[in-house]
């Protein structure tokens, strides 16, 4: 019998680095988005969920537009951008600019942020490392998912989407390819990444896997 390829839990940690650029108004933010590094765009969009708490928005640009500029309609539109729709940062950058330009066309003079509340463009240096946990079956997987740090869930559920592309995360990929459980893999893939915190994602995965483990225990009992 062929040995099952274990799932290795990894995790990532990001160190914030300043780009030295800040925006005081929507026009200022637009100009900087047009020229700032790909790493900075990546940080303010894809890494938004690293913050790990419930928020009204889905990226930092929407958050700042809503909270600091109080441009609610723009915040809603920016929140509607799905970064996983784009295969390059350039594509995502253009979409951000398109939405902002469209808004500026209709409302040319939005207010400025209060002093001290400017938008600071940052980027990150990310370190990935093994969490020291390998699992070989769903029961072990369930215990590990409950136990690992949020940084590990982030790495396998969010970061993996950029790494693997096509809306695929590491968990569902292993469950489908190695455990050959397509139903559970599809269940995990159907969790909306934008509607939960990292811990909310963890809870949903635990729920789905727990059901599956219970089902297989019942089959064994019969």
């Amino acid at each position: 019998m062929e040995a099952i390829k274990p799932f290795e839990f990894k995790q990532c940690v990001s160190i914030l680095k300043s780009t030295g650029r800040k925006a005081e108004s929507l026009r200022g933010m637009r100009e900087i988005i047009a020229g700032v590094s790909d790493e900075s765009i990546f940080h303010h969009t894809y890494q938004y969920f690293l913050k790990g708490h419930i928020l009204e928005y889905t990226n930092d640009f929407a958050h700042w537009s809503g909270e600091s500029l109080e441009e609610r309609a723009l915040a809603e539109r920016l929140s509607g951008i799905d970064p996983y729709d784009f295969s390059t940062i350039g594509g995502l950058r253009n979409e951000l600019l398109r939405v902002i330009d469209d808004y500026l066309g209709k409302f040319p003079e939005p207010r400025e942020a209060m002093p001290g509340d400017e938008f600071y463009f940052n980027q990150t240096i990310t370190l990935t490392f093994p969490a020291g946990i390998w699992v070989k079956n769903l029961a072990e997987f369930l215990i590990a998912v409950k136990y690992v740090d949020a940084g590990s869930i982030y790495y396998h559920f969010y970061e993996a989407r950029v790494r693997l592309g096509g809306g695929v995360d590491d968990f569902s990929a292993w469950i489908q390819d190695v455990l050959l459980n397509e139903g559970l893999a599809a269940g995990i893939r159907s969790i909306d990444p934008f509607m939960h915190t990292v811990d909310g994602i963890r809870e949903h995965i635990v729920e789905l896997v727990e059901d599956e483990v219970k089902k297989s225990m019942e089959i064994i009992r019969q």
Partner: protein
């Protein structure tokens, strides 16, 4: 020592510390600041240095020496960087440099990584030998006196990198700038778990009644901490809910305004036996810990703030916190999730009443706050970040690194 943090700090932080320790093993790491005791920097270094040594990194901590004039000048530089109008003459800058030069002759500055804390020892970079030099700025530089900041930047821009506590404090220096928030030590006297006896002993000795909810603010008697605003908020709350207010702080000997503010506060509080103004001697860490633990609500109603770690201290004890939306406080309080941010006396009063009348909500936010601090503001995270910055500088150009 690192084992003591197992079960307290996030597992990943401890794993990463070990990994980075393996990568940087036997390399040397030098910290330099201007005081061995007193102040947040020394407090953290006392614990961080043995942790780094245990990881196998040859770590030293040196302290610069200077005369009274030197420290008078550096105090003025410090104030000017934080925005107070001060004039630093050419002679003063020369003295600042000369004292650092003497220290450079006395100290062994050779190390693979050198972390210089704050402006006092910043000119040491002129005497660098080898290794990566990093300037760690712990103070608020968002609105400095320009001339003083420009002069200081002559030194700071000579470093390989700078580290600031909050993104808002960064500035275009032409070198790499990292953002690393400060931290609290969960095992220190100020934050460790206390027994019920220890807590009651403090409450009894300081004559704090525990039969009613206690509202607490721990801070220096400084106008920027708005102690009078705290009393005004308490007076509004008192119309609806019976409670006790405790304002606890150390006498600020280096702050000429401190006494005037304290007198104002006492005058404003006069006649209300439920307002307790406590002047605690320096190093009253255990008493502050106990006061935070007997409180129902912890306030930090600052009008201006560097980082405001008292917020994290309160959150670590599972307390609902209310803070002014200034400095580093919004980084710690996620409004409505881990506490409330307020902008006025009325706002503070309203949120206190909300907490006093909704104990379940207060408990829930307190629990979330504790987890938020666990994941973001413990010393193990700060140590991990310093090593990550050093390691990233050794691997310059890479934005993702696998360990």
């Amino acid at each position: 020592m690192i084992n003591q943090y197992s079960g307290v700090s996030p597992k990943g932080d401890l794993v990463l510390l070990q990994k980075l320790g393996e990568k940087l093993k036997k390399k040397s790491f030098l910290h330099v600041n201007s005081t061995r005791a007193g102040g947040g920097v020394a407090e953290i270094l006392q614990r961080m240095v043995p942790m780094l040594v245990e990881l196998g990194i040859k770590t030293r901590w040196e302290v610069i020496e200077g005369d009274d004039r030197f420290f008078d000048i550096t105090k003025k530089i410090h104030n000017a960087i934080q925005g107070n109008p001060e004039k630093i003459t050419k002679e003063m800058w020369d003295h600042h440099y000369e004292i650092n030069k003497k220290n450079a002759e006395r100290l062994d500055l050779e190390a693979n990584a050198v972390l210089i804390h704050d402006p006092q020892p910043s000119p040491l970079v002129k005497f660098r030998k080898k290794g990566k030099w990093i300037w760690r700025c712990h103070i608020d530089v968002s609105n400095p006196v320009k001339e003083v900041c420009d002069y200081l930047m002559r030194y700071c821009s000579k470093y390989n990198a700078a580290v600031f506590s909050v993104a808002r404090f960064t500035r275009a220096m032409g070198i790499d700038e990292f953002i690393i928030p400060p931290s609290i030590d969960p095992l220190s006297e100020k934050n460790r778990e206390l027994s019920a006896e220890e807590i009651h002993e403090t409450a009894a000795r300081l004559k704090i009644p525990v039969d009613r909810p206690v509202i607490l603010q721990v801070s220096r008697f400084d106008r920027f901490k708005d102690p009078v605003g705290v009393i005004e908020a308490y007076k509004i709350v008192k119309k609806y809910n019976d409670c006790v207010l405790v304002l606890a702080g150390s006498p600020a000997t280096d702050d000429p305004e401190g006494e005037a503010v304290l007198n104002e506060v006492k005058e404003y509080a006069a006649g209300d036996p439920d307002i307790h103004i406590l002047l605690l001697p320096p190093f009253s860490d255990k008493d502050i810990n106990a006061l935070q633990r007997i409180s129902s609500v912890v306030l930090q109603k600052s009008l201006k703030e560097g980082f405001g770690l008292t917020v994290s201290e309160g959150m670590w004890k599972g307390k609902p916190v209310i803070g002014g939306a200034v400095g580093g406080i919004p980084l710690q309080i996620v409004h409505g999730i881990t506490g409330f941010l307020v902008h006025s006396v009325e706002g503070a009063a309203f949120r206190i009443r909300q907490f006093l009348n909704n104990p379940d909500m207060a408990k829930r936010m307190g629990e979330r706050g504790r987890e938020y601090v666990r994941n973001n503001f413990l010393i193990t995270r700060q140590t991990r970040d310093y090593l990550s910055v050093w390691y990233s500088m050794e691997n310059k150009g890479k934005s993702v690194m696998e360990l």
